[in-house]
Amino acid sequence: MPYVSLSDKDVERILKTIGLDSTEALLGTLPDDLRIKDKLDLPDGLAEQELMALMQGMAAKNFPVGRGGLLSFLGAGAYNHYIPSTVAHLAGRSEFYTAYTPYQPEISQGTLQAIFEYQTLVCQMTSMDVANASLYDGASATAEAVLMARRVTGRGRVVLSGALHPEYRRTIKTYLNAASEDIAEALFCTEAGTTLVEAAQAAMGDEPACLVIQHPNFFGCLEDVSALAEAVHRKKGLLIVVVTEPVSLGLLKPPGEAGCDIVVGDNQSFGNALNFGGPYLGFMATKTEFVRQMPGRLIGQTVDRNGSRAFCLTFSTREQHIRRERATSNICTNHGLCALQAAIHLTSLGLSGLKALSEVNLSKAHYLRQRLLETKVCHAAFSAPLFNEFTVRLDKDADAVLKRLLKKGILAGLDLSRFYPALTNHLLIAATELNSKDDIDRFAEELSRA
């Protein structure tokens, strides 16, 4: 049998040691009426070669994004970036990926130092004091941030921007359903595409726990973070800023400098492939004063007995294995390997690389937008400035256009009517450094024909 290391002789010796004459006798601890009498109805096992052929066959039924595959302009919280070769080679070292949570710091300094560095990188990009080791994804991280804001403020009212990713909003509602459904949505301005400050203020009531905005928002529009921070701070609530495209942080003012109290989001863009939606990389950063209310693992620097620098898990008294039902969160396994991949990507880019990547994405998106608008087939839906993603309104039926472009091998964007019934024939379109000028020109040409 695959993956088992005992010979028949070994099994005999073990049985003899434990004083049994068969493995059947060993299973006597299971009540007889609970035993499976026949065998499971599963396909027969495969040799490794057969398995690989099967998996290749399954993979070949898909049409992935990339060279020789589909040309994608889809974003909406999942971005197709180039991943440097360093990432797969270094994160692929099995000393990293076959380890578990670094409970024994003396033999886990590799994971611990790498994640300590990752926490620092997140702080640097967001201009916040402290970041945790990771959460599952941007949506669940945002839900955790909302719960944290409730703990910090002791208040219930949660206001979500209507321009926050719809699946993030749905996740928050699922998480809050059990506690209290005191959630309101703040409308976005249908002209600018950004959260209406007045609507947010009205939705907050007198005692908001938090206002949650996305920046750049779901439509690709840049929010006036400072103005929204001021609005929620006036009522002593917290501002949570969600960043689903952290490449923007190379160029945009970091949330920490714009009055944000908790930054969450998804670092998938760094080092993590599209992978059909997961695993991605939830992150959270906040101010020092809120660290005791933060969910998730934290790595801290300390010393060993000889006074040498060392790292270990810390502030565990917030966590489920110590605090049980009074923990700040139930999270245990997080997305450590995804965080390692992001850290390797970020350090490979370095300061100039991150800024350059940010500028390239900005330029590609603006070029794409200009080329698409020139076709006259579509129009700019919103007036707010953008970073890597934008919304257009089509004169034609969006579904039909998407289908026709798909026949040409192009994923033209996300039909927003899926989430916003009022936004019929609106497409959300993104560009990254992986979309060449030729690709963009071809998209514009095919769109004008569609």
């Binding site: 088992v4 499976i36 599963l42 994971t111 492939a273 010393v303 370095g350 690389g353 330029s363 000028k437």
Partner: protein
């Protein structure tokens, strides 16, 4: 603070920020082939980073600097590939290499979650079939693959249980949890809005029907248990316990963390379980990743099926399609964006296909065999928490050693000197100085013997040379780490 220094190949490695020097470049992005867009021409200055901003010390290193840095860090880590990792409750079995290759196929990694269903039929088919396999293994009627980890799965299950009672017009507010439970169980219950009712396990380490009967009432939504439990024992009275809970209209939630001991041998449905989470990173061999990502699918019986998170995968003829909330009005909604940790599902799917029914059963049987071997071999030197045959893990206490002034932590650290990852320690909480050993099925007899021999030597050292234990580990890059200082004087990031 003293910096460590190189000792031959025991090399030192600073923080990446300390390797940084101004102007160094690593892997630069591809130059743009479109006209450069001046950010300041469309974005208000107040929205942009200040010119000359250096991101507060963001690293500037060469590509080789990066490669050496992470290679060195990897060498300071201990993984399953490095050696024996008997971390109880975590099922640190071998992570097959072919699964890694399968998960890295571009036909899987290159899929965008919002591309049209027609272009990702292979992925949907894989997910559909994995759901079916997990149903077959557990006996549950339906499975969602959406949750990201075991605790996330627990939370998802508890949300569904809450929704089920709310839907019946009779919300319930309590969850009964045994004192042997993982910390995630009470934490997930609280997060799902329930009050936790703790219940003691019996002198034999098992839950008794009487104890359950005494606390079970019509405000209790569910009993949440782990089977086999965290002491490595099978809850023999599970059927009777389930009957008691069901009679009062409650449900049974099973924490599936220990499924490795029962897959192919017994089905949760036959035990009366209504809801269970699977830990694909334990039972189904996907790597633990230094702390994730895992994957925590949830299986349910029919009456909970309407509450599963969306989207659901449906097969219509030969096509696979996603069903959303509009057609699933009772759904709890979403646990996260998109569909779950897909690349972890690919690995688990490959594992199940490689083993088949026979292989899964053989794996479970061998896991039990190996655990009982360790249990028998060590019971003279370490006190068994409960002296009965175990399932997949054996739990000892520190009773024989504590008299010599050494603790479970000392024993664990001394094991490192012998080249082994320590077992889970101080859990479950009901066992004093617990040492929880889960060898898994993938280890050889030679490895088990070497571990047993080390444990026996340590037991002897505890009597004669306890200092060896207290000063351990002595062969690692750092000696025992001061965790108290880390919490009292927090340094949670590097600063320039």
């Amino acid at each position: 603070m003293k910096q460590t220094t190189d000792k031959g190949f025991f090399m030192d490695e600073p923080l990446i920020f300390e390797r940084s020097s101004v102007g160094k470049k690593g892997v630069e992005p591809c130059p743009s082939d479109v006209p450069n867009h001046d950010a300041a021409s469309t974005i208000p200055k107040a929205f942009l980073r200040d010119a000359g901003d250096v991101l507060n010390g963001f690293p500037e290193v060469s590509e080789l600097d990066v490669v050496r840095h992470y290679t060195r860090l990897s060498q300071w880590n201990f993984g399953v590939d490095t050696g024996f990792y008997p971390l109880g409750s975590c099922t640190m079995k071998y992570n097959p290499k072919v699964n890694e290759d399968a998960a890295r196929l571009s036909g899987f990694t290159g899929l965008h979650p919002y591309q049209s269903e027609a272009t990702c039929q292979g992925a949907l088919e894989l997910m559909h079939d994995l759901e079916a396999y997990l149903c077959e293994i557990s006996g549950m009627d339906a499975v969602t693959l959406q949750p990201s980890a075991g605790a996330h799965g627990e939370l998802c299950g508890l949300f569904m249980i809450a929704a089920y009672f709310k839907d019946k017009g009779a919300p319930r507010h309590k969850i009964i949890i045994p004192d042997t439970a993982h910390g995630t169980n009470p934490a997930s219950s609280a997060l799902a809005g329930f009050k936790v009712v703790p219940i003691k396990s019996g002198a034999n380490g098992l839950l008794s029907p009487e104890a359950v009967k005494a606390v079970m009432d019509t405000d209790t939504a569910a009993l949440m248990l782990t089977n086999p439990n965290t002491i490595g024992l099978f809850e023999r009275d599970i059927k009777e316990i389930a009957r008691i809970v069901h009679t009062k209209g409650g449900l049974i939630y099973c924490d599936g963390a220990n499924m490795n001991a029962v897959m192919g041998l017994a089905r949760l449905s036959d035990m009366g379980v209504d809801c269970v989470q699977f830990n694909l990173h334990k039972t189904f061999s996907t790597p633990h990743g230094g702390g994730g990502p895992g994957s925590g699918p949830v299986g349910v019986v029919k009456k909970l099926e309407p509450f599963l998170p969306v989207p659901r995968i449906r097969k219509k003829g030969k096509r696979f399609t996603l069903v959303n909330e509009i057609d699933r009005p009772k759904s709890i909604g979403r646990m996260k964006a998109f569909y779950g940790n897909f690349s972890i599902m690919v690995r688990a799917y490959a594992y199940i296909r490689r083993l088949g029914a026979e292989g899964l059963r053989h794996a479970a049987t061998t896991a039990i065999l190996n655990a009982n071997y360790i249990r028998e071999a060590l019971k003279a030197d370490y006190q068994l928490a409960y002296d009965t045959p175990c399932m997949h893990e054996a739990v000892f206490s520190d009773k024989f050693q504590s008299g010599f002034g050494v603790s479970t932590m000392d024993i664990a650290k001394r094991l490192i000197d012998y080249g082994f990852h320590p077992p889970t320690v101080y859990f479950p909480l009901v066992v004093h100085g617990a040492i929880m050993i889960e060898p898994t099925e993938t280890e050889s007899l030679e490895t088990l013997d070497a571990f047993i021999s080390a444990m026996r030597s340590i037991a002897a050292e505890a009597k004669t040379e306890p200092e060896l234990l207290k000063n351990a580990p002595s062969n690692t890059r750092v000696s025992r780490v001061d965790e108290t200082k880390a919490a009292r004087e927090p340094v949670l990031r590097w600063r320039p």
